[in-house]
């Protein structure tokens, strides 16, 4: 039992107890955990602890979905004659995410700056954020395409979690990071410990140009070359833990007892798609693949940091894995860094 504020912050929990604990969580909250669907690991709600994928591999999609769903109903609008009723659909449940990785948790901080810290607050996002507890898991090993350490993160960084777990000796070391985390472990059988596990951070996978070095690169021919093979699909944006663009539209629902019904929904959108920047009258200022690809990269490393700081990339490497034509953000950053140095010399 955790009694006061002076107890150690590191504990040990056995695999068995962890399973029991997660099971007890499903009684009062939605448990979202990585599960294997036909070979694809995804974070999805589950009520069965046996469904959880305990492997070390990074899920195909980030935890962003739990806070910023692909489709979210914002409100339902009903009309009968001159009468209009509007019902806002705010998130009220509790959710707990298990096995969140440091890169994804850091991604949520990036979204917080946009949706919560900056006025006006996005109540749809912030309600979900406030009602969610993150149980993090240290990555045992950086994957082939991971580069979190180049983006200021680390496979074992607990900062953005509520609770952090690190696999150790058949069980897990458990670190309580926030008050929310403390609440969640109340009543769980934990043994205090002082063991520390070192996770090897591989550094220097992706050198990144400084913020001031970006504007001169806007006119480079490189973007045209890079985008020649780009498909202009949305994979990179949708798997990204920090991409947050959306579109809002009203769509009709079936009539309800004489009332006309509509819903206002917001759905993921991406600056990599052709129609994204099209404006009334049909003009499209970002009408080529190169301009769109460049915008996405500039957004991560120049536009976003200018407004919010730090960069809007957490080095999770998903876009590298998922891109069907091998557009590799670390290769891109490497290239730009070389150009920057060459220009200085």
């Amino acid at each position: 039992m955790i009694a006061n504020n002076h107890e150690p912050h590191l504990w040990f929990i056995t695999q068995e107890e962890l399973r029991n604990w997660l099971e007890s969580i499903t009684d009062h909250a939605t448990l979202i955990a990585p599960q294997n669907f036909d070979g694809i690991v995804l974070f999805k709600p589950t009520s069965d602890v046996n469904e959880i994928d305990w492997g070390n591999s990074r899920a195909a999609m980030s935890i962003k979905e739990a806070f910023f769903p692909p489709t979210e109903q914002l409100m339902v609008i009903k009309r009968r004659g001159a009468e209009v009723k509007v019902t806002e659909k705010l998130f009220k449940e509790k959710q707990v995410i298990f096995s969140a990785r440091p890169c994804d948790a850091r991604g949520m901080k990036v979204l917080d700056s946009v949706f919560i810290t900056t006025e006006p607050e996005d109540s749809y996002y912030s309600k979900r954020r406030a009602n969610t507890t993150l149980i993090g898991l240290t990555c045992q090993q950086m994957g082939a395409t991971c580069f979190c350490t180049s983006m200021g993160g680390s496979p074992s960084n607990p900062d953005d979690m509520d609770i952090m777990l690190t696999a150790y000796n058949g069980g897990y070391l458990l670190q309580i990071v926030s008050e929310k985390g403390r609440e969640l472990v109340t009543g769980v059988n934990l043994q205090p410990t002082t063991i520390a596990v070192e996770i090897e951070d591989e550094i220097g996978r992706a050198p990144t140009p400084q913020i001031g070095d970006w504007p001169p690169r806007f006119a480079d021919d490189y973007w045209e070359e890079l985008a020649e093979r780009c498909l202009s699909c949305r994979i990179c944006a949708y798997v990204c833990p920090t991409c947050r663009c959306f579109d809002v539209r009203d769509e009709a629902l079936p009539n309800d007892d004489g009332w006309q019904q509509f819903e206002r929904i917001r759905c993921w959108d991406s600056c990599t798609s052709e129609g994204y920047r099209r404006i009334a009258g049909g003009h499209n200022p970002r009408d080529t693949k190169a301009k769109r690809l460049k915008n996405r990269v500039f957004c991560k490393f120049y536009f976003y940091p200018q407004q919010y700081n730090p960069v809007a990339c957490t080095g999770c490497g998903r876009c590298i894995d998922a891109c069907p034509v091998n557009i590799d953000i670390t290769e891109l950053l490497q290239h730009l860094t070389e150009v920057v140095y060459a220009n200085r010399a």
Binding site: G143, A144, R229, S232, R234, A237, Y238, V325, N326
Partner: protein, 478 residues
């Protein structure tokens, strides 16, 4: 209360709608289940309309037009006779009982026939029970998690056609030779000025192979050939042609490295007049089959190589047409070389067609459930070249903007229909899918249907295309 189906009937205004009137005047009894929608012609009932009708909860859709030869617009009903059977096969493959969609003919004077068809159809649909199609607000159609009883799970992933180690060594040797020849060829083509650009493959990061665009002979050494040259590069032809168009007075020519399957795409693109044959130079490669290309998350050095499913059945080693050929002429198919024990796409589709609609419905819902609507499948398809996709319109006309199961399924089925008689089976849509949805099974199903129904195969010659919309007397009329 017994189940009463909701039936939507699209009635041609000239024949069938008048036929319904005739039935009414003669006081013939017809079931009250029918919601009649008057249309100018049965040819006006596009597959998207039918999909939308089922998406909105219809238990059955009846399309009635004029008898063959009696169309007010000459051939509208012949168009319906071409489209609807293919749509029926498609929706059936996705898990709809095909009896729920019927196309028939009723003339203005045939009140009795109208009444008979409507009664018969209503009885059929009533016997089938409530439809399992629309997911939203319909608990009976929810995505099922229990896969134990369904024979389809696992089946579509079972074709582990591993390549034996001695073959790998043989391939490696041939790849080196092919790479040399491609570089030499590209370099000559660019130096002589015969082409402006060569689209081929290069080695990217994490040892992946990716498309490369060579505009200068000095860059030709970037090009490679190996068993991971999966991309269908014909996708990039139009962009490259247009890019050169803007800069040069001369008519641009672009060379592209093609496998046998990629070349079939060229036949379809030429059929649809996307560019002329003189504008392209085909560097054909004798293909030994392409490996399944995975993401590089696992650091697996002892990776085993397996053939892509499309390659298992493929009998065509050489492109049908080419301007330059890399590699020797006739080679045996992989099956003949007894290289590959796995199951190909065709046999998988066959196996799926044997299951019950319910099993197929559960299977596809669970697959489409993962879709994130990133449109990578569409973007990677050389034949999806519409300037604005029907399913991405601002007005939500054919499907909503939601990234939810109904919308996702409509997108995938609609896209598959638009590729009927056009898709040549390169399976890039499936390869690029970040959610591993076996989309290509649907395309292969429709290719089989086109072959069975119209004796038509896409990509084997320059021929009128798309077959489902042109009229050449292929339709079978009852």
């Amino acid at each position: 209360m017994p189940f009463e189906p909701k039936i939507v009937a699209y009635l041609c205004t000239w024949c069938s709608y008048t036929g319904a009137d005739t039935a009414g005047i003669a006081r013939l009894k017809s079931p009250a289940n029918l919601r009649a929608i008057r249309v100018p012609c049965s040819g006006r009932v596009s597959p998207e309309i039918v999909l939308r009708t089922f998406d909105h909860g219809a238990d059955g859709v009846l399309i009635l037009g004029c008898h063959p030869g009696e169309c007010h617009y000459d051939s509208g009903n012949h168009r319906a006779a071409k489209r609807i059977p293919i749509l029926r096969a498609l929706m059936g493959f996705a898990g709809l009982e095909t009896e729920r969609l019927r196309l028939d003919w009723v003339s203005a004077s045939e009140g009795e026939r109208f009444s008979h068809i409507v009664s018969e159809f209503t009885d059929t649909v009533r016997a089938l029970g409530p439809v399992r199609w629309q997911v939203r607000g319909n608990p009976a159609t929810a995505v099922q998690d229990d896969r134990s009883a369904n024979p389809l799970w696992g089946a579509h992933q079972s074709s582990n056609s591993l390549i034996p180690a001695d073959k790998l060594a043989e391939f490696a040797d041939r790849n080196r030779k092919f790479t040399e020849s491609i570089r030499l060829n590209a370099s000559e083509l660019l130096k002589s000025g015969r082409v402006h650009c060569v689209i081929g493959y290069e080695t990217g990061t994490h040892a992946r192979t990716r498309p490369a665009f060579i505009w200068d002979a000095s860059e030709a050494d970037r090009l490679v050939w190996n068993q991971e040259c999966t991309h269908n590069l014909t996708l990039y032809l139009e962009d490259a042609l247009n890019r050169k168009n803007q800069e040069s007075e001369r008519k641009p020519v672009v060379a592209v490295v093609v496998k046998a399957c990629d070349e079939r795409t060229i036949q379809v693109l030429l059929s649809e007049n996307r560019f002329s044959r003189e504008q392209i130079h085909l560097i054909g490669v004798a293909c030994d089959g392409i490996y399944q290309v995975e993401g590089s998350q696992g650091n697996d050095e002892n990776q085993e190589f397996a053939l892509q499913q499309k390659c298992v059945d493929c009998e065509q080693r050489l492109p049908l047409s080419y301007d330059t050929l890399i590699g020797e002429a006739a080679r045996q198919s992989l099956a003949e070389q007894s290289l590959v024990p796995g199951m190909g796409v065709d046999s998988l589709v066959e196996q799926m067609s044997q299951t019950t609609p319910q099993e197929r419905m559960d299977f596809w819902l669970s697959q489409f459930d993962r879709c994130i609507r990133c449109y990578a499948c569409r973007q990677a398809c050389p034949l999806c070249y519409c300037p604005t996709c029907l399913f991405e319109r601002d007005d939500s006309l054919w499907t909503g903007m939601g990234i939810e199961i109904d919308e996702k399924r409509t997108f995938h089925l609609g896209r598959a229909y638009h590729l009927a008689g056009r898709c040549i089976g390169c399976n890039e849509c499936e390869r690029v899918c970040p959610m591993s949805i076996p989309i290509s099974l649907i395309n292969h199903k429709l290719a089989q249907e086109m072959k069975n129904y119209f004796n038509y195969e896409a990509g084997l010659a320059i021929q009128p295309s798309p077959l489902v919309t042109i009229l050449g007397g292929e339709e079978r009329l009852p």
